[in-house]
Symmetry: C2
Subunit: 237 residues, 2 copies
DNA sequence: TGCGCCGATTGATCCCGGTCAAACCACGAG
DNA sequence: CTCGTGGTTTGACCGGGATCAATCGGCGCA
């Protein structure tokens, strides 16, 4: 059976939750799901101009690349996150799948119509954009002032926070948790403003310190949450 | 005569322009203007919780400071800009006047009511937040990858762009333009992720290169717009 | 089983910008 | 006029992370 908005697992955490139940069939008809393999482009340069999306599974990245090839990842998008620029033109930034992912796509014009009809959706979108802005600003602090070690710890803490399967219990004091990092070493470098070599070295250093354990590939296990948080801190918040 | 929304000079560039003329008296009654001396706090830590504002004149800065004293300026707010977090809690960031300034204050709850009544205001706010997010992301690129020289050039270009008095003509090919930088050397350092010493040295270097001319205090004159743009680039956009 | 490829790791060296320290320069108060 | 103060400039030195370069390791493929 084709999945619908009524059965959508991430709706409670997506902007769609602002829509009344009776509108679900309507938005179900105007949206469609799509699977993207890691590395595929979600929005190419200018054509965020006519689509918006919600992340169902996997992780996307938004990046800025300069004429001379330098790249900065300026945002990660986790399940439940909204991606798109309603009421705005497309930007030069590109959005790509960092991992294999599923997205739910809307025509931008129709989504804007929904915004007009449902004040609650506007409200929720504004909330989400405020969160995005806060995240961007926290990252500005990281890029402007944190050391390589603090950056890696912050990144891992972020990933744990957004990706670790929640088992109902407050996860703060679970002994160890493991996830797959959603980015390659190169991408981590692009996100943290570091080179791939530094990323590699610092991860090793954190492992030697007993804070994390690096598995083959992208797997990582956090052995000491407190030490990780302490390293990440410098209390950016 | 007390200035009113009807005669407000910056209304065409503020979010208020989304409101119909017949609502002007209403918002005039629910807003009030305030003068702030440079350095004064507009929103202290948590109490962006109950006020929002529009910048009438001068420049404000939003900054993040960590427990150990490191500071990052994460946003500048120029005349016409909107400041505040409707539909969201206050943040740990503080907003202060970088220069002497005038602001127009609204109670947050009342502003949220306006958002509910006027769909166009929501729309314009969303546009503004998109711009803020774009600006933050451009700055992330700057902080992550640009050299000290590129950073200073980008900053000066930004200030020129937002502060230079526009005389109707397209200013791109005016020979030289002068402005007062809205930030002290220390603040520039905090905005660019550099130390005050580096800021000073690089400004000197740009002057020696004939790109700018530094006046006493905060005054600065751009002698070669193209060279400035070229130095700033690395084409972050 | 061997080869080629690509990302990750590790090492050696370099350099930009940070750090420490010392003037310098108005400006205001006594 | 002198002193103090706060922001700025300049110099000497240092170090974290970039750069350059070599090696490794898993995986697909012949």
């Amino acid at each position: 059976m084709r999945p619908t908005c009524r059965t959508c697992a991430i709706r409670p955490s997506a902007v769609c939750r602002a829509l009344p139940p009776e509108a679900l069939d309507q938005i179900n008809r105007m949206s469609h799901r799509k699977h993207l393999a890691a590395g595929r482009t979600l929005f190419a340069a200018e054509d965020a101009a006519h689509t918006v999306a919600t992340v169902l599974a996997g992780v996307a990245k938004t990046s800025v690349t300069s004429a001379d090839g330098r790249t900065q990842i300026v945002g990660l998008h986790f399940p439940g996150d909204f991606i798109g620029r309603p009421h705005a033109a497309g930007s030069a930034n590109t959005v790509e799948a960092a991992t294999d992912m599923d997205v739910c796509l809307f025509d931008k014009g129709r989504f804007e119509a929904l915004l007009r009809e449902h004040e609650g959706l506007s409200r929720l979108l504004i909330e989400r954009m405020t969160e995005d802005l806060d995240a961007a600003r926290e990252w500005m602090f990281l890029l402007g002032h944190k050391s390589a070690e603090e950056r890696l710890a912050s990144f891992i803490a972020l990933c744990i926070d957004r990706l670790e399967p929640r088992c109902g219990v407050d996860a703060a004091d679970q002994p160890a948790s493991r996830i797959d990092l959603p980015l390659s070493r190169t991408e981590i470098g692009h996100f943290l403003g570091l080179t791939i070599e530094t990323v590699s070295r610092v991860l090793r250093r954190l492992q030697t310190a007993g804070v994390i354990e690096i598995e083959r590939g992208r797997g990582i296990r956090v052995l000491d949450r407190e030490a990780l948080a302490a390293t990440a801190a410098s209390a950016a918040d």
